[in-house]
Structures are given as C-alpha cells and as structure tokens.
Amino acid sequence: MGILEVKGVNKRFGGLQALGDVNLSVAENTVHAIIGPNGAGKSTLLNCLVGKLLPDTGSVMFDGQSVLGRKPYQINQMGISRVFQTPEIFGDLTVLENVMIPCFASRDGAFRMHAIESVFSEKTMMDKALTMLEDVNMADKRHMHAASLSRGDKRRLEMAMCLVQDPKLLLLDEPTAGMARADTNNTIELLKEIKSKRDITMCIIEHDMHVVFSLADRITVLAQGTPLVEDAPENIKGNPKVREAYLGESA
Amino acid sequence: FANEPTGSTVTLGFNVPQSGPYADEGADELRAYELAVEHLNGEGDGGMMGTFSSKALQGNGILGKKVEYVTGDTQTKSDAARASARSMIEKDGAIMITGGSSSGVAVAVQALCQEAGIIFMAGLTHSNDTTGKDKRANGFRHFFNSYMSGAALAPVLAANYGTDRKAYHLTADYNWGYTTEEAIRASTEAMGWETVGTVLTPLTQTDFSSYIAPVLQSDADVLVLNHYGGNMVNSLTNAVQFGLRDRMANGKQFEIVVPLYSRLMARGAGANVKGIFGSTNWHWSLQDEASQAFVQSFGTKFGFPPSQAAHTCYVQTLLYADAVERAGSFAPCAVVEALEGFEFDGLGNGPTLYRAEDHQCFKDVLVVRGKENPTSEFDLLEIVEVTPAEQVTYAPDHPQFAGGALGSCNNGA
C-alpha cells in the first residue's frame, strides 16, 4: 500500500478524455517520476491530486485518507506541496516573504490571525526561511521583489517555498525546466539530500531525462491520459514503446 | 453669548446649495443675500427697507455694525450643510445662519444652531416638520409649508375641477414627500375628493414611466405629483409624455397637480407645466408695493426677476436685522423674543405674523398655474389666487405638526 493511491481516475474536458482510468501507487519515501508526451495528462493528474480539479470518477487516497472534495488548502495541510509548471509565486512580495508564508502555513494551519506581532519578531520562521534560501542559493536575493526575478530563479524560489513546508509528498511539475545546467545539477543534489535527510515522497514530472534518471526510483509513462507502463528506470530506457512514443532517438 | 460681535462689523452666514441639483436655486438665494446686505449697509436703493412696516432699520448696518457675510455650500446634504454651518460659526464667528433649499438641510442646520446658540433663519423649506415635530427655539421659517399648500390649493382645485374627483398620488419617498401627501390628501378629501392610490417613488428615480403607466389603468382622473426639484421635472415631463393631459377619465378631462411650484422647476419642465396648478410662496408678478420694490432692485442689479427662494432669503435677512435692532442686542434669546409673535407688513404677501408657538410665519399663500403663453423665460407662472392668511392658518397642535418641542432659546457659550 503506497502513501498515494490513485485508482480509476477519469477526467474529461468536453470531448477530450484527458485522463482515462489512471491507476497509480506511490510508495512512501520514493521518488516516482511521471513522464510522457506533451498533453498526455500529467499536469492534469497533478491537478486532481491538489484539488485544482475534481476527477469525474475514481479515488485518490493520501496516507489512508481521500483527498477528493477537499479544498486545496486542506490538501496542502495534509502534507502535499506542489511546484507548478509555470511558476506560481507572490510577485509583489520579497523573496524572503515568499518563503516565510509557507513557514507560517505549516506552523499555524490554514488560518491564524497574528495581527499584532511583528514579522521581525518571528525569528525562528525567518531563520528557517533563510536557511532554505541558502539551500537553493538565493539568500543574496532575499530582498528582491519576486516578480523581478529571472525565470530560473522563480522556479527555484517556488521549490524553496514547497520544501520549507517539509511536506510528506512533494509534487514537482517540471521543476528544472528553464534552469541552467549547473542549477539543474544543484537541484538534483538538493532533492537527493533532502530525501536522505528526512522522510519525503516525491512525484516528479520532467522532460529532462537526466533529471528523471538521476532521481527516480520508479517511472510511470503516461500517454493520452492512460499509463503506458510503470517500471524501474533501467527498464524504461530500453522499452521500445516508450522510445517511440516519447523519447525519440536522442535519448 | 456665542459669537458676540465685538468689532465694528457683524458676520452673517449664508449657507446655500452651490453644488448639486439645487445649485441654481442656491445661486439665486445668494444673490438675494448680497442684495439684502447691500441694503442693510445703506447701499443701493434700499429695496423693501422702504416698504417694511417696522422702521427700526436705518441703513447703517445692524446696531451700527457693518454687515459682512460668509458663504458655504450645503450640497443639499444634511451632513455637509452642518459642516458648513459649523465652520461659519466656529471659524468665521457668524452670529446668524440662514439659507438652504430643502427641508432635510433646514431641519439639520436648525438643530445645530440650537445646540450652538446661534439664530437660524430658514431658507426654502416646505416640510411641515421644520416648524412641526423638528421645531427649535432658535429657528424661524418665513416659507410656507405643506399644510398651507393643501389648504390653499384645495378650494381652487374644487372650483376648477369639481368636488367629485379621484386622485392618484405619486410621492417622493422621504419626509417632505410624506408631509406633503398627507396635507394635500387631508385638504382635498375634505373637499370631497377621493384618493384612489398613493405610490412612493425613490428619491433617486429619474425615469418615472413605470409609475406613470399604472395611473392610466387606475380609475383616477387627477394625478398629484408630490415631487420637488429634479423629481418633479422628470415626473411631470413623463406624465405629459404619456398623454395624461390629453386623456379623458370618468368622463372628465384628466388633470395633473403639482403642490409645490418653483420657477426654476417650471423652467426645467418647459412647456409641460402649461395649465397645471400648484402653490408657491411668492411670485415676482405680485403687484403690491413691497414685492414691486424688491423686484425692481433685484432686477436692476441682476437683470432678471427674483425667485421665491430669493424672496424668502432676502426677507429673512431683513427680519433678523430688524429684530436685532428692536431688541437692541445680538443675543439670540433677545432676538427670539423680538421675533416671537412679531406682526409686520410690507415684505410681500401682505400682513404677516411670526407665531410664537412654533416660529412659523403666517401670510398669504399663492396658488399659481403654468402660463399658456409665456413672454419670457421667467414668465412661466400666473397667479390664480392669493389665498388669505386666515385660510391657511392652523392650530399649533394640529395633528400634522404634532410631536416635538420648541425648547427654550439658547444663547450659546
């Protein structure tokens, strides 16, 4: 029994079957990669997990509880964090504040009014955020407005925002797209390190096979909304079906 | 007492609408005030000072002090009017506040003046409440009121339209509307008319078609528009558009009545007012000596005849000045005493009484009709009847004026 159990999930958009009968089981403390051609339904699947979309049929269980019908913030409070395909950050806030907000969310829950305390008196939160920023090499940019970051930096910031919450399940939608190679490598190291330090399960969508094969314990290949194969990385590489539908010659 | 003038001048506060829908009326009131100050200070031709029965005023200011004035904008909002009045009292040291073009403002400012210990001489305010349930010892009204409109209009209506009429009232949904409807209903029903419908219309309404249309289907043969200002202009225009004036109902010609007329409104409604009855406080075509003197001096200075609002405001200023002279003091309580029960003549509208019980003045009321062939843009109304004061006089405890107490005069700190 995995920590995340997706059973028979279907999702249609009008005439389009975006997800058809998806079954997925992610074991605790593993990295599970989902790959597949563009438009296969990978992001849609993640959307169903975080409450952005409600699947037409099927069930999604996390840690023994159903996530369906819960609000996004409730799902996050259960321990699921997500990095989006196009960075979702608080553009008007500084980088540091961007990371502090999730710190508060995981300490205080979905709502708590600290209307009188000063942000600066929250030393532990600030330190936590700063340490996180150092981990992603962005401490020097902590006073910048998040909106004026370059694209790669926005990605890293968003990842920091998710990691600082110490989630049980981290969903990453193309976390290294647009990242410089050096930073991609750093990110791989960072994710590996985090995984070695604490209990965390990750679900990662990536088109960069270098990242996928460096991190993944298991890989599911999704095509046209249905899982094509699920296997260990070594076997995926050689799978002719996957090569044809997705990897092409260059892999 | 508050704001006692110590120097060689005395300051009056003219609080009129300068912005908003009544700005033109306010502008006319200001002209009248300017003229009154001129006359009080002995400039110009003296206007009504010559005809006024009390001869206390000498054209040397008030009690020898030159009259100066400050102006403010009421915006026809009670809050803004009070703010403006307070600034005149607190900043400019005004000893008397006057003006306004609606009952809401008059009542609000009157209450303020009572608290502050300043005399308030109301401008245009027609609601019964001003000298009814909201009366105050420091406030006086020279304008007529809803009850008087009803009392003056009813006999004329009966004479022209008969006593067997079915009336339908459209009433503006606020205090003035309520008191006017009540007054007109009471007096027309006393003549034998029947009221077949009354509908309240929102103050902010601009298109009255959905209120006019049902009149067509009622069995009414008279429509009474208890509206003022823009409301009246629009509802009358709409009523005429719907052909009510060309209509026969119950075998009679359908008629429209507008209880309170002003020249500015008549101008706004244009040709639609022709032949429609209403009442008014004063009109420039009155032929008595006092009115003529006022028209002459106003007309010469500004180039057109004064409105009823201008007349009221002018008279109020003279009355106040005269009362101070007679009392020999600016102290509000002395002024109140001098004005209470004061009888005078020579300010238009014939012999007049400022009644002590409610500070309402009693004088002749005019019933007018929209003129068929106006010769100028100011010549829109013709006087049909000058209703004598006795006919519009009522007991101080008349039910339409019940509640409220005058209290005692306040000299202020």
Partner: protein, 251 residues
C-alpha cells in the same frame, strides 16, 4: 569577431552594415536596474546564433530589447535589422520589419482559441505560413484548434507560440528557450523545423539552457554573463573549449 560598424555615414549606414542583424553597444534598464550592460554582436543572414548564459545573465532581456518591448528600455546603443534602425522603432513596427519573438513564458493570449491566436498573428502584414501549413507542422494544434489557448498543456502552448511566430513572414526569429517543457520527441521535431526554417533563409537567435543541443544546431554562439558578452565565436569552438563551457555553462 566584432566589426565596429561605421556610423559616420549616418543614414547610409546601410552600405557599411556588417551584418543582417547588428547590435551595437546596447545598454538597457528595467526601471533603475541596469541589466544589459553594453552588448555588441552581429548575426549574418540565414545564420543560427545561440545566445547562452546562466540564469539571470540577461539573455531574455537582450531578446526583449531587440524586439523593442517597453521593458527593458534601451538607453544607449543601436540595433539594425536589414538596414533598418530598430532602436528607433517600437515593438509593433519592429515586428512589421520582420522581428519574430517567441517569448520565454509563451504568452498565449487568454480568451482566444488556438486558431484565433494564430489568426491574430496574421492581421498585420507581412503574413507568413498559412494556418493549415502550421497545423501540418504541429498536428497537435490542429486537433485542438477550437480549444482556448491557455488551457493547452505546457508543451502544446510552446508549439503554439512557435507556430504563431511562423505565421508571420519574419526575417529574424528570436527564440527564448523553445525546448522548455517539450517532450524529447517534440524537441527533435522542432529542431528539424528550425533547420527547415534556416534553409528558407530565416535568421535565428536561440536562447537555450540545453546548451549542447543549441550548439549542435547553431553556427555561432554568444555567451553572456551579468549583462556583458564574454564570448563570441563559432559554436564548434564552444563545444571544444572545455574551460569556457565549465565556467559559463557548467557543462
């Protein structure tokens, strides 16, 4: 390497223009932040230039400045395209002169369908490929033509963005990370298309984090670091020069 153009001839610069697209000593600011700090390079007609550098090096800013978008604002320097002074134009004029930019965040217009997004590109002259031909190139878009553009999957949006640029008859194609978020097979496809475009004589500037792929495609390469050029030479040179790669590209 860099030939300093002869500006002394004023308007007759056309005769001395060293290249098809010339950027000379360009300085550009976002508000008060000085980002592009004096860049000069030339691109010859029909050439593919790879513009490389780390996150935040100023690649996107350079492309945006060339396309004459409002920010960053060029405060000094000149940009010439086919004898036309671009630095004196605004963005729609530049576009009409033949600049086509595929922006990094794709910029699919919300509220419009896929097809309308393409039609929009063909309103102002000069018109390029027909919409049908674009659908042949990206069959995926043909299938989704009635769908609202912003609901496309990430990769589909990228295709639409490229297709939109080709729908206009452009002289220079500026690609900002075109492979980002695309499945390897599609990247292969696009690479083929870019070669095809090159054959048609369209000049291309490509910004890409996957430097090796870009360099294999490109004729020449320019490497940026903190808003200045640190290398300008042939693509092969970069591939051979290990130091350069390690220092600026971390590969």
């Amino acid at each position: 390497m860099n030939v300093k153009p002869d500006f002394s001839k004023g308007k007759n610069y056309a005769e001395t223009a060293p290249a098809f697209l010339s950027v000379w000593d360009m300085h550009a600011y976002y508000g008060e932040s000085y980002i592009v700090q004096g860049i000069s390079f030339n691109v010859h007609e029909g050439e593919i230039l790879a513009l490389l550098g780390r996150n935040g090096a100023g690649k996107t800013s350079t492309l945006r400045a060339i396309a004459r978008l409002d920010s960053p604002a060029i405060t000094h320097g000149e940009v010439w395209l086919d004898h036309q002074p671009l630095h004196l134009k605004n963005s729609h004029q530049a576009a009409q002169l033949g600049i086509g930019l595929v922006p990094e965040d794709r910029r699919i217009i919300s509220g419009l369908t896929v097809e309308e997004n393409l039609q929009l590109a063909q309103i102002a002259p000069p018109i390029g490929w027909s919409i049908e031909r674009l659908y042949d190139l990206f069959p995926r878009l043909g299938e989704r033509r009635k769908q609202e553009g912003v609901t496309l999957s990430g990769g589909e949006q990228q295709m639409l963005s490229i297709a939109r640029a080709l729908a206009r008859d452009i002289k220079v194609l500026l690609l900002d990370e075109p492979y980002e978020g695309l499945a390897p097979v599609i990247v292969d496809e696009i690479e083929k298309t870019l070669r095809l475009i090159k054959e048609q004589g369209i000049t291309t500037v490509i910004v890409e984090q996957n430097a090796v792929r870009a360099l294999e495609l490109a004729d020449r390469s320019v490497i940026l670091d903190t808003g200045t050029i640190v290398f300008d030479g042939s693509a092969a040179e970069v591939l051979e020069n290990k130091e350069l790669r390690e220092e600026y590209l971390a590969i």
